[in-house]
């Protein structure tokens, strides 16, 4: 049964790709393709979220993107819970951004980032499931001539116990949409959940096990041509010219075309029948570039820019209490340290790609995107066609991590497709292109200053962040009087900015200042899984460890004393300390970290040894209090995965620039953790109820500082400039 449903969905996904042109009639894709479902069964829409076939199969529409983070399954669980259907019969589909537009954004936002997938849509998707259930019940009750309130539902079957009658959802779904849409719905108490909250298997696993899932990179359309592109290697530069004589002689090469877009990219693409040949042909073009104003930029110039912010008199305030300068001058002990975190690229396993078909009447795009509506807007902007004449078909993403919120590659593929009207063009970036044209996690520095009294209590803390503002680079309209409050994720003052209360600093420190000297190098910044909590947690939590040691205090006790006002933060920290055998004398170096970010309290306790300069991470115990746990086993998967992503960056990789050009062009120079590097991760999911906190990103913040603090415990060596790489001293 299960596998036949998966087969059905597979056909659906492929169908929506191949039937692209048919969708221009304004017919909803799921209805348009209903004949494809179970060999001709009728698939009926109960409401925007739920369609049910006469065979009781339930298709739940998922507006947010799936990039591995499990949101697809979590959202389906929430809808199915309120729908009270049989989970074994649940499958899913993606509504299109164009349909969302036509239906007045009935599915809400398609944007998938900021660990928002579940938490910012859970309310309305649960309401959608509940409303569908009420309409199905109302239909059955009407057919029976009984009050709806006298009916009950269990696993997709409606019962009227007094008359011992029952109807399956599939028997009433076809006409249930005629029932009035309920104006008010009562949602279940999570304590009563049987589908949501359970460690269910993902809905998208099986097709990932036999190569049948079609990623954006795998799309094949009739008459399609493929393209490889090279953009100016220096941001802000432009294409001067190229010689395509050799390239055009290569097998399958059809054309060499300049590609300039409104997003500032300026390059050249080879279009042909084989991507490998197109990509090889690119190397034969002898391209001339005008490298533009940033061709002198290198790591030394960027570092000098950041260093100029460490003691600058002007900075934006993100958190303050008391008088930190007075506390520092009165200190019995003053501690000071400077940290530096390098730039990173997202480097999802599937390099950027998109497919487009353009005619003078219509522009269609197939792509892996974290923001279907932004991709749709890009298709419209790039093609010059009204947005109503554009459409985007989303695929599952081969990784996103924030990179695929941008639509630069959509602009590019549409620009190419416009030169081949009617012919679908698949643009596939090489790994090198993906590395060299990222939206990079900015490099930042911090100067930390702390004051301790005679008893070793923290009396004052100044955290000066110096570095690039992602908001200034990508959405300057969101700056507040010039300030970027997102720069203060995890360390911000509550009530300061409405969007930032999910990121408040946990510690209560009598004299405190956290400020940001904005220093923006000519690098395109981006939202990278965890965004600014990555470095902020390293700065804060490594320095807390330094302060505790200077104070002669146990780092756990030192922190707990400052967490008296935040019992949930103290609880996750105590949980990892307990399970992580904090305080044992067993030869392992242990380190702690705790943070509140994306609405969740998270902590980690790492265990390491260092032998002859080689770091071995034995185990990391992690805890997360995300308020409400929608799928605990997927939360554990996110914790495990976020640690690999965060620790790859902290330990191994960095993006550097020379003459304005990224130097790490592939995985040989941009290393990523492999299985041999993976510590055992033990995840404690301890939801305390009420809210829905984020899951995909918060825990990434605590992995690196916990490991860095454990390295100190094991060796006495503080590594303050990342990545750790080969810095650990040999004994």
């Amino acid at each position: 049964m299960k596998s036949s449903i998966h087969m059905t969905r597979r056909r659906f996904v492929l169908g929506s790709l191949s039937a692209g042109a048919g969708l221009s009639l304004g017919v909803l894709p799921a209805l348009d393709l209903s004949a494809d479902h179970h060999g001709g069964d009728v698939l009926d829409e109960v409401n925007a979220w739920v369609t049910i076939g006469s065979d009781d199969s339930v298709t739940i529409r998922i507006a947010r993107s799936e990039m591995g983070q499990g949101t697809l399954t979590g959202l389906a669980q929430l809808v199915a819970e309120e729908l009270a259907c049989d989970w074994e019969k649940v499958t899913w589909s993606f509504p299109t951004p164009g349909d969302n537009l036509k239906r007045k954004r009935i599915w809400g936002s398609f944007s998938t980032g900021g660990s928002q997938g579940v938490r910012s849509s859970q309310q309305y998707v649960r309401e959608g499931g509940a409303a569908a259930r009420m309409m199905l019940v109302a239909e059955a009750a009407e057919q029976w001539g009984v009050p709806a309130a006298s009916c009950r539902v269990e696993k997709g079957v409606i019962y009227h116990d007094p008359t011992k009658r029952s109807l399956r959802y599939g028997e009433v779904a076809a006409v249930a949409s005629r029932q009035a849409v309920p104006m008010e719905v009562a949602l279940k108490d999570p304590a009563d959940w049987t589908i949501a909250g359970q460690p269910l298997k993902r809905l998208d696993t099986l097709e990932k096990l036999d190569g049948s899932l079609v990623y954006g990179a795998d799309i094949q359309l009739p008459e399609m041509l493929v393209a490889s592109i090279v953009d100016c290697p220096v941001m802000g530069g432009s294409l001067k010219g190229f010689d395509d004589t050799q390239a055009l002689k290569m097998p399958g090469v059809k054309a060499v075309v300049p590609v300039k877009t409104q997003t500032g990219t300026d390059g050249v693409a080879v279009v042909g029948t084989s991507w490998w040949h197109a990509n090889e042909a690119l190397k034969q073009l002898n391209i001339e570039w005008d490298l533009g104003p940033n061709a002198q930029m290198n790591d030394a110039s960027i570092t000098a820019l950041l260093e100029s912010g460490l003691d600058a008199s002007e900075a934006f305030n993100g958190n303050w209490e008391g008088d930190v300068e007075a506390a520092l001058s009165d200190a019995v002990t003053r501690v000071e340290a400077i940290y530096k975190v390098p730039a990173q690229n997202h480097a999802p396993m599937e390099p950027m790609n998109a497919t487009a078909r353009y005619t003078s009447e219509r522009c269609e795009v197939w792509c892996p995107t974290q923001n279907g509506e932004a991709a749709l807007a890009a298709a419209s902007e790039a093609s010059g066609l009204p947005i109503e004449q554009c459409e985007v078909y989303k695929t599952i993403l081969g990784g996103g991590f924030g990179r695929r919120g941008a639509a630069d590659y959509v602009h590019q593929v549409v620009a190419i497709a416009m030169q081949f009207p009617g012919t679908p063009i698949k643009l596939q970036w090489s790994r090198e292109e993906d590395q060299m044209h990222g939206f990079y996690h900015p490099t930042t520095m911090a100067k930390m200053r702390g004051s301790l009294d005679e008893a070793g209590n923290l009396t004052g803390l100044h955290m000066r962040i110096s570095g690039q503002s992602i908001i200034a680079g990508l959405m300057p309209q969101r700056l507040v009087n010039g300030a970027d409050f997102v720069a203060f994720q995890g360390v911000v003052k509550g009530g300061l900015n409405p969007g930032m209360d999910d990121h408040q600093m946990c510690y209560s420190i009598p004299n405190l200042k956290v400020d940001h000297a904005m220093r923006n190098p000519a690098v395109r910044p981006g939202f990278w899984r965890g965004v600014n909590v990555n470095q902020n947690a390293i700065y804060l939590e490594c320095f807390m460890d330094e302060l505790a040691h200077k104070a002669g205090r146990d780092p756990l006790d030192f922190r707990l004393a400052l967490l008296k006002d935040k019992p949930k933060a103290a609880a996750v920290l105590q949980a990892v300390a307990d399970k992580g055998a904090w305080g044992s004398e067993d030869g392992l170096g242990r380190g702690l970290a705790v943070l509140y970010a994306f609405g969740s309290y998270v902590a980690a306790c790492a265990e390491v040894t260092v032998t002859d300069g080689e770091l071995k991470m034995h185990r990391i115990v992690a805890a997360t209090d995300c308020g409400t746990a929608v799928n605990p086993q997927q939360i554990a998967a996110q914790v495990e995965g976020s640690f690999v992503y965060g620790l790859s960056a902290a330990l191994l990789s960095q993006i550097t620039f020379d003459s304005g050009v990224v130097q790490e062009k592939n995985f040989d120079r941009y290393p990523s953790m492999r299985i041999k590097d993976m510590p055992k991760v033990e995840t404690i999911v301890m939801p305390s109820g009420g809210v829905y906190g984020g899951v995909g990103e918060p825990t990434i913040a605590v992995a690196a500082p916990a490991v860095l603090n454990a390295i100190f415990a094991a060796t006495g060596q503080r590594v303050r400039t990342l990545p750790v790489a080969r810095q650990l001293a040999s004994a």
Binding site: G68, F401, E640, I675
Partner: protein, 157 residues
């Protein structure tokens, strides 16, 4: 261009291709078998892993002309016909994939290891499964390999 016969998942496929084209692109573009993935193109990440006579290799740097007619090529599509390979069963049971893009290569690396070392230890896994997964599924990959070993043993018993 060269006319070649390739034995892919037990079926002989006649192709007329540039002999220098890597096997990966012959599979993906000439034969339309897109389960095997492109990710780095320089044999660093293993997303393109397929088996030649049961042994895992990185197909993104292997010219198709280096693959003889008698060599048995196995891709993720041919690991089993019905998700019944022990690695596929174990991966399903543990919900190993996240984004899943690296998993065809990861699973072929795991299956290749189990072909040569049915009793592979953690040290064997560390040495021979060197694929990159940016989602960070390694913990479940390791558990999955051990579970696949158990499944293989229980199937034989």
């Amino acid at each position: 261009m060269a006319k070649l016969n390739l034995n892919v998942n037990g079926v002989t496929k006649a192709v007329d291709v540039d002999p220098s084209m890597p096997l990966l692109w012959v599979l993906r573009e000439t034969l339309g078998m897109t389960g095997t993935k492109y990710s780095c193109g320089i044999a660093q990440c293993g997303a393109c892993t397929v088996h030649l006579d049961g042994q895992p290799i990185r197909s993104c740097v292997l010219p198709v002309s280096a693959v003889s007619e008698s060599t048995k090529i196995t891709t993720i599509e041919g690991l089993s016909e019905d998700l019944s390979h022990p690695v596929q069963k174990a991966w399903a049971q543990l919900d190993v994939p996240q984004c899943g893009y690296c998993q065809p290569g990861m699973m072929m690396a795991a299956a290749g290891l189990l072909n040569s070392k049915p009793n592979a230890t953690d040290a064997d896994i560390d040495r021979e499964v060197t694929n990159i997964c940016r989602c960070g599924t390694f913990q479940r990959v390791r558990e999955g390999i051990h579970l696949a070993q158990d499944i293989m043993k229980s199937t034989k018993a």
